[in-house]
């Protein structure tokens, strides 16, 4: 099992200075550098029933930060070679060619959040944790040490490290991976961090539970998961069915903790990633109590590059969009024209793109 960092419990702060400045700066801008990279699989670990952790090694990778993502080509997509002779011998089947014929190939790239990064020996190690739900993630689950995987990234905007003394990171299910990376960067920035990790049931929680200190059923943070402990982050675990830690939603565990701790509004920032209802609940709790809150959203993406306009997120209007189109008054009635709907007057919100303007958004800006 891979550990962060491999040998010690506390991260030793060996991030390159320039990288640190780039990633920790509160200036919010898309980091311009991105590209297509070939990554070698160092490890592929099954974390729980249906979550796998990939540790990838790259010769180089641009500076990145928690909340950013990469898109992965989940398949051996080999170009059809110049038409070759069909080898046909009596008693043998002819060799067919064409990617269409070789089984279901994922077509589009699959987006995954970065779950961690380590710069070691002049190379970069990236971590991805994924939930097997379909053809692309099933492909990744079968990756073996030494396999080559093609990444495009880093994409999107990561989390801002807000100027508070304390931070709470909340991850639900497959929203946990970016929170591991964020916990890393927050502790690095000297914040006092507490993690909240939620899952439906123990079997699908993508974290390693230590036997020495089991998660508290009363919601007290502890070094109960190997992954967050390796990032010096005490953790509260909640499961919907009560099979581990607090019984109930992770949002309830957070609320309980806030009631107990009563952090000052300017001293705590809340960061979340997970299923939409969870993030909404977290945002309601955090904003309702006056805390700043950032959430990382998931959207079905065509390109991940700000081109296809498929990953739209409704954001309250105010500042003009620099990216996608703004709502505007239609020049024409749209009638029943199915393809031309969507041109209504909606001054209250505008669309932003999750892949370019997000996936991290200020919760207060979102139209849920």
């Amino acid at each position: 099992m891979w550990r962060w960092p491999p040998t010690c419990n506390r991260f030793d702060g060996a991030w390159p200075k320039a990288y640190h400045a780039l990633c920790m700066g509160s200036q919010r801008s898309t980091i311009a550098r991105r590209g297509v990279f070939s990554a070698k699989v160092l490890e592929n670990n099954q974390l729980c029933l249906d979550h796998y952790q990939l540790v990838l090694q790259l010769e180089a990778f641009p500076p990145c930060r928690a909340g950013q993502f990469v898109t992965v080509r989940c398949g051996q997509v080999e170009p059809i070679q110049a038409p070759r002779e069909i080898q046909w011998q009596a008693g043998q089947l002819p060799e067919l060619y064409g990617p269409e014929l070789t089984g279901r190939q994922p077509l589009l790239r699959r987006p995954f959040s970065l779950a961690g990064r380590r710069d070691v020996g002049g190379k970069v190690e990236l971590e991805i944790i994924h939930h097997v739900i379909g053809v692309g993630t099933a492909f990744l689950a079968e990756a073996r040490r030494g396999d080559e995987i093609e990444l495009l990234g880093p994409l999107g905007n990561g989390f801002d490290i807000l100027p508070t003394g304390r931070a709470v990171v909340v991850g639900g299910g497959v929203g946990i991976p970016p929170m591991l990376y964020l916990a890393q960067q927050l502790t690095e920035a000297g914040k006092q961090v507490v993690a909240f990790a939620g899952a439906r049931t123990r079997a699908v929680l993508p974290l390693t539970i230590g036997s020495a200190q089991p998660p508290s059923t009363a919601g007290w943070p502890g070094m109960c998961t190997a992954e967050f402990a390796a990032r010096a982050t005490p953790t509260v675990v909640a499961t919907d069915d009560g099979s581990l830690g607090v019984a109930g939603f992770v949002s309830q565990a957070l609320e309980q903790w806030l009631d107990r701790e009563q952090p000052a509004t300017d001293d705590l920032a809340v960061y979340a990633c997970g299923p939409a209802p969870m993030m909404r609940a977290i945002a309601t709790i955090a904003l309702g109590r006056g805390y700043r809150c950032q959430v990382a959203l998931e959207r079905h993406m065509g390109c991940g590059l700000g081109t296809c306009q498929s990953c739209v997120v409704k954001v309250k209007s105010g500042d003009p969009a620099d990216g996608g189109a703004r709502p505007s008054v239609s020049a024409h009635p749209t009638g029943n024209a199915a393809q031309l709907t969507g041109n209504s007057v909606q001054p209250a919100w505008q669309y932003k793109l999750a892949c370019k303007d997000g996936p991290v958004f200020d919760a207060a800006d979102l139209v849920w």
Partner: protein, 312 residues
């Protein structure tokens, strides 16, 4: 040494590879991942007179060997295109075609007239897969009478710009609409746009896309697109001397060569740009390699050289 240059209705291109509308934005989105100057020409996302926010989410869904999209022509609108994007396109150094969409003939004409004054633009591509609100919402591109109306109206205002008409495949006989377009003055045909399609979530019994239907693109449609290009080439375009830009599921050189053999003079890549933005340039090399291997020196040598099997 093979010569990849092609001439489409007077537009000189260094090679026959273009971007398909809507899959490469307005060029700046991909600049760092794909050397656009290495393309033969660039086609923009559809532009409409007024900006459009497009459809509700979800707008895309992947299907086997393809994807459905119902973006709803979300775009920045003509004014912002001219102000913000045209200056960038001017620096591109390759011919730029602007894809134009609208819901009335007047829309198309207004956009086309304005684009006559934009230096960076070399041609306009009419996206006629839009419903005509004045004709009761029937798609321009599915009715030869509507095709004729919109194409001839736009042709009247095109002086500098070459007129490309992008055909919709959602018709019984694409040669009919192709003929209407050519007779009304189309100088280039581009084909095909996406197939109207639907994907259903069987648990909720609802379509996956918010718009219910979307356009199917990607490798899944390639064989149909190839057939349509061949049909239009042999029945309309060849005799009329109108070049075809073939598209639909092109991912590799092999795919592009199929289109060329079927009768396309140039090819466009769409969905494949999402998968491998920089990699599409390998298609050029593959075409050059094929020409060399078959003893040809120019792309035009193989256009439409498909040899049909004799039929009983």
């Amino acid at each position: 040494m093979v010569d990849l240059r092609v001439n489409l209705a007077g537009v000189e291109m260094a090679n026959p590879l273009l971007t398909a509308s809507g899959t490469c934005g307005y060029a700046d989105e991909y600049a760092d991942l794909l050397d656009l100057r290495a393309l033969g020409a660039f086609t923009t996302k559809s532009i409409t007179l007024a900006s459009r926010i497009g459809n509700e989410y979800p707008r895309v869904v992947e299907t086997r060997a393809g994807m459905l999209n119902a973006i709803g022509l979300a775009n920045i609108g003509l004014d912002r295109f001219v102000a913000d994007k045209a200056p960038l396109l001017e620096k591109l150094g390759i011919p730029v075609f602007v894809n134009v969409a609208g819901v009335t003939v007047e829309d198309y004409v207004a956009v086309a007239s304005r684009l006559e004054q934009v230096e960076a633009v070399r041609g306009i591509e009419l996206n006629i897969s839009c419903p005509n609100v004045k004709a009761g919402g029937i798609q321009f591109g599915t009715d030869p009478v509507q095709v004729c109306k919109v194409v001839s109206a736009v042709r009247n205002v095109c002086r500098k710009n070459v007129l490309i008409v992008k055909l919709s495949p959602n018709v019984t006989d694409i040669a009919v609409t192709a003929r209407a377009a050519v007779e009304a003055g189309a100088q280039i045909l581009s084909m095909i746009n996406t197939f109207t399609a639907m994907a259903i979530d069987i648990e909720t019994r609802k379509p996956i896309l918010a718009n219910n239907t979307g356009g199917l693109s990607g490798p899944a449609i390639r064989p149909i697109a190839v057939q349509m290009v061949h049909r239009v080439y042999s029945q309309v375009a060849k005799a009329a001397g109108v070049p075809i830009i073939g598209m639909g599921g092109i991912q590799f050189a092999h795919d592009a060569i199929e289109f060329l053999l079927a009768g396309a003079s140039a090819v466009a890549v769409g969905t494949a740009l999402f998968v491998d933005p920089g990699g599409v340039l390998a298609i050029k090399d593959g075409i050059a390699e094929y020409l060399t291997r078959h003893g040809h020196s120019r792309v035009s040598d193989i256009v439409g050289t498909l040899e049909l099997n004799g039929r009983a």
